[in-house]
Amino acid sequence: MIEFRLPSLGSDMDSGTLVEWRVKPGDRVARGQVVAVVDTAKAAIDVECWQEGTVHALPVEPGTAMAVGTVMAILREAGESGSDVERALAARAAAAPAGAGSEGVASGALLPVAPARPPVPPVRHSPPTPPTPAGPAGPAGPFGLTVARDAARLRISPAARRRAHELGLDPQRITGHGDQGAVTLADVQAAQAAHPAAMPVPAPASRVQEMRRVIAAAMSRSKREIPHYYLAEEIPFARAAAWLAEANRERPAVQRLLPAALLLKAAARALRRYPEFNGFWRDGGFVPGSGVHLGVAVSLREGGLVAPALLDVPALRLDALTQALLDLVKRTRAGALRSSELSEATITVTNLGDQGVDSVFGVIYPPQVALLGFGRVRPRPWVDDDGGLLALPVVTATLAADHRASDGHRGALLLAEIREQLQEPPSLDLPEESR
């Protein structure tokens, strides 16, 4: 028997609300398959399951709020029968402390290892909708959620989903006109205009407040616990810019390279050489990352930010890295991030250059131990090795690092390595084998 639990979604997301199941009892689940969509303060997340099995039961219903670690699903392992699982569940329930098992397997009380925080029992935000096998679904709950009528994915942007909830509209019933039939904000507004009477009192502030609450918790913890130190380095970007302009001259948009890809690749390579910046501070010690997985800070238009991970960046050529970045940003906007992308980043990189600032000194996202920042690439006066003055495109790279895990001298070497990497764009394009 496999108990599938709501996985960690990063240090600032400790709970989520089940939006819909993408599997049903009897379905086979493959490793890495998306089994559910969970809404968090920041985004709707596609939750992946990394174990193989057959769905036995789904004790959590859509509309239920859960803490990270809550058992969401019970899977049968290969060779296991339904009655085997029932026996195992009965044995667990009998062994559980009195009163703890009343919610059955949906209760977090059956965790074999105590989580950092006691999991809250699931709270139903909407009354359980009775199954209606024929005819239309029952009335929407307070969040506009009803039990998903099939496992097909409703494509909807986070902003549209939020607005629909605020307006008490069932997103499943709104006709989408976006990419691949996705329901957009405009579709929700149109649906509201068509049925103005069906509109309960909106609560637009709550979502923004919840976003601020989770960011406040994570950033306050960071500043309370992490002794930050900060370094900055001005990096000539002339060679990189010239190489990029040449590479992009004949490329159609679909094959074009982003300047950010060079910055990310240079950072990832340098982190390979200075691994004490790539990983986590846990239980009083540094734990290196299993690879270089860069969390890329993406600011959300409706407020706040999220930093999903680009995995194994050193192994990517610049075109693949650009495509991965474009895909990640697009899915962040469309509300289709995967759970692993929110928990696997080994360091965060923020690029505020698009907004026009020269440098950014970040707040480390715990339990990570460093944050790299890149500002705007812009022409600046530069003195070359012979004392000559010229104007060059320059980018300022900054490092905020955890002094428990590293020292300023090594941080300076890390930034110098990023600078050197950016002076050799053709070699930056080559993939580096993972170790």
């Binding site: 942007s157 549209a160 976006g178 957009t184 992009n248 948009a253 982003l258 474009l326 940003v329 698009d354």
Partner: protein, 83 residues
């Protein structure tokens, strides 16, 4: 394809890459990226979406100059030729 068709295709491409944007509220004469806060990845996603929708590829060197919806409509309509 007339200018309105081109304009609608561009707005649809924008809605695809920035679903939270209210395209009806755009000022076509003001810089687009600043109005709707498109970062460089959003912008490239938009150019790719425009290519998919209209079959028109906006070169890298040209794209930076086409900073308003009006300019984008003009440029694409000219490349596509008369309806």
């Amino acid at each position: 394809m007339n200018r309105d068709d081109v304009r609608n295709a561009l707005l649809q491409a924008l809605a695809d890459v920035a679903p939270e944007v209210d395209t009806a509220a755009l000022d076509a004469a003001r810089p687009l990226r600043r109005q709707v806060d498109l970062d460089s990845a959003d912008w490239l996603n938009f150019l790719v979406a425009v290519h998919e929708a209209l079959g028109v590829d906006i070169p890298d060197a040209e794209a930076a100059k086409l900073d308003t919806l009006d300019k984008l409509v003009d440029w694409c309509a000219r490349v596509l030729g008369p309806a």
